[in-house]
């Protein structure tokens, strides 16, 4: 088995997870566990795909995928921030709605493929120098623009949380909304913006699936990747840069079965297919043993904030 081609494929398989994980981080950093990741992903996937077929324009496709994820996140935000609904149930409702919506509008597009012009736009582009590094160069730096966008957003998010004032404010809200409120930070506004931006990233994640990874339309295109992303957020400890490696690791698990078979190794494909899910559980358990059950995540994660309750 060629390691470079395996790594290249792992990076591609990991990208949808990366975008969705970053989206999940943005929501959780302001204290909102959004289980609607899967729903926002499929909505982004279908809207991105349909736009690419209708307009042949990759930019519009990306924008509409972001809009779809953003609208999904906005519904979630209105319900959980302003109307104080239960985050778990609202997230699930968003996933059910998103899946239904996607099956609904996607039905007539099943089997259609992404237009050539859009495919060309997302074709691999080698970055000079970096792509010449042995083994990893080709895998990481001879990829689609979309992949570079993923790296870029991960790094920007990291800077956002570590050095910018707005990012620090967002983190403070996730840790202690009461204190943030007292410090004059507009808690609800921050939550809205961060959650909706997170939703847009989930939408992009879906677009990566339908425009680059597959790249044609099939129902149930996410196949549970959104849920793996929710677990990845915990696994990588809410760290956007670590998310790159976590996502690629899970991408590698995802394609391992097919690759091993292609290499002529006799292995049960169905059991290998279970690996990403099994590993998610194992990593979660290891994580919870290591921290003694205490989460490293934002302290106020999952708790609604009512100023009146103080």
């Amino acid at each position: 088995m060629n390691i470079e081609s395996f790594l290249t494929a792992a990076v591609i398989a990991g990208m949808p997870l990366l975008f969705a994980t970053l989206g999940g981080i943005m929501s959780e950093k302001v204290g909102h566990l959004n289980l609607g990741v899967e729903g926002m992903m499929v909505m982004g996937a279908v809207m991105g795909f349909i736009t690419s077929v209708q307009t042949q324009n990759p930019y519009l496709a990306l924008l509409s995928a972001m809009a779809a994820g953003g609208v999904g996140a906005l519904i979630y935000a209105v319900l959980t921030i302003s109307l104080r609904a239960n985050q778990v149930v609202t997230g699930l409702a968003l996933t059910i709605f998103g899946t239904g919506f996607t099956n609904f509008v996607g039905q007539s597009f099943v089997g259609q493929i992404v237009p050539e012009s859009v495919k060309t736009f997302f074709a691999p582009i080698a970055i000079p120098v970096l792509s010449n590094i042995p083994i990893i160069g080709g895998a990481f730096f001879n990829q689609s623009l979309f992949v570079y966008l993923g790296y870029g957003i991960a790094v920007i998010l990291m800077l956002y949380y570590v050095v910018t004032k707005v990012g620090l404010n967002a983190r403070m809200i996730g840790e202690n909304p009461g204190a943030a409120d007292a410090a004059g930070i507009p808690v609800a506004l921050y939550k809205y913006i961060n959650i909706v931006l997170g939703g847009m990233l989930c939408g992009l994640s879906g677009a990566f699936l339908s425009l680059v990874y597959v790249p044609s339309w099939q129902q149930n295109i996410t196949a549970g990747k959104g849920w793996i992303a929710v677990a990845l957020v915990i696994f990588i400890g809410w760290n956007p840069v670590k998310a790159i490696f976590g996502a690629i690791l899970f991408g590698a698990l995802d394609i391992l079965g097919l690759r091993l078979q292609a290499a002529g190794i006799q292995i049960n494909q169905y059991f290998v297919d279970m690996l990403p899910y099994l590993m998610t559980i194992i990593f979660l358990v290891i994580g919870s043993i290591r921290t003694g059950g205490a989460s490293k995540g934002p302290k106020a994660l999952g708790e609604a904030y009512f100023r009146e309750d103080r």
Binding site: A93, T99, G100, N103, G224, Y270
Partner: protein, 351 residues
């Protein structure tokens, strides 16, 4: 203008019903707009939906058959949700229950129905509870996030059934088609009043679990644990034991759904056994406010929605997924309406 929000003390039942009805009304208005945009008359479509699920006695039976797995699964999930254990794993528990029941149906097909069916029921409950116990143990021992674990278990169960379907249990008589052999007649639940006896099982479960939650010590402990883990600990309850018992029951009941569906509806085990029941039942349990008797009512409403949606697909070519969209919209509206039940909004004009 100034808006101030305060908690409403003890919202009355009247207010609850009113808010819920307004929410459903709002959901119907939104749905109507969507239907109208698609170029259909919403009233006609709604009428067709009702016709499609209640129009003939055959359709009524189909609607009941659709409601049965929803009731059973919602009752099962409800137990876990009572203690705020977010068991999203009903899909997997149904599959494993179905898988265990199928094992009996395939390998002991010579047993008489009177022995075979109860064994299948028992085994399905065991299968479902094993699948539910794994996340429960992880939660009780390591405080691992149960939502994610139960979800991942769904996919593992699904891959397992796919493996059986394409591998060891593939029917050699299906001419290469990857399916598991149909059950023999003695492995199929009999009918009563034209509907398989799953409905009796469902009703019995509703009564038993209602009694269990409200009138037994463990049921009470589950409720206390759901309200506050600390209270349960201070009261000297064995939190781990409660989690394990409740999840075992929750999984067993969901597993039973797998047996009912495999035996009476599909007549075999397939990867499509659940048809999303595990997720829909979560909503039903929530909308019923985890009150067991209400789960029957809400399940029937959802069955009507599902059957109606499949009927309008044939009449108006509106995709079946419309049902999920409508479910989602209803759910959003009801989730939003809870706010107006639990809080008071004061609007003050500022001079």
């Amino acid at each position: 203008m100034q808006i101030r929000v305060t908690k409403a003390s003890n919202p009355s039942n009247k207010k609850k019903v009113f808010c819920t009805l307004v929410a459903i009304g709002l959901a119907m208005i939104i749905t109507s707009v969507i239907i109208a945009v698609m170029g259909h008359n919403p009233l006609n479509v709604y009428y067709s939906m009702l016709e499609g699920c209640l129009g003939t006695s055959h359709r009524i039976k189909q609607t009941i058959i659709t409601a049965i797995p929803l009731v059973v699964t919602a009752v099962g999930i409800g137990i876990a949700f009572r203690m705020k254990f977010w068991n999203i794993g009903a899909e997997g528990q149904i599959l494993m229950g179905g898988c265990f029941a199928t094992f009996v149906a395939l390998y002991f097909k010579n047993l008489p129905a009177i022995v075979l069916l109860p064994t299948m029921i028992l085994l399905s409950a065991i299968g479902g509870s094993i699948w539910a116990l794994i996340p429960a143990i992880l939660k009780a021992k390591f405080n691992t996030n149960e939502t994610i674990v139960t979800l991942m278990m769904n996919y593992i169960a699904l891959k397992w059934v796919v493996f059986l379907q394409y591998g060891p249990w593939k029917d050699p008589n299906a001419m290469g088609f990857p399916k598991i052999a149909n059950f023999t007649d003695n492995a199929i639940l009999p009918k009563l009043f034209g509907v398989h006896i799953g409905w009796i099982i469902a009703l019995i479960l509703v009564v038993v679990i209602y009694y269990f939650i409200n009138h037994t010590k463990i049921g009470y402990e589950i409720q206390v644990l759901g309200e506050s883990e600390n209270t349960a600990k201070y009261a000297g309850m064995n939190v781990r034991k409660i989690i394990l018992i409740a999840m075992m029951m929750s999984g067993a009941i969901c597993g039973l759904t797998g047996m009912i569906q495999a035996s009476a509806v599909n007549n075999t085990l397939t990867m499509d056994l659940t048809a999303g029941v595990g997720y829909t039942a979560i909503i039903i349990a929530w909308l019923s406010n985890l009150k067991t008797p209400w789960m029957v009512v809400v399940s029937i409403l959802f069955a009507i929605l599902t059957q109606g949606a499949s009927y309008i697909q044939t009449v108006y070519q509106i995709p079946q997924a419309a049902a999920e969209v409508i479910q989602g919209i209803i759910l959003f509206c009801i989730l939003g309406s809870q706010f107006f039940i639990n809080y008071k909004v004061h609007v003050k004009e500022v001079a």
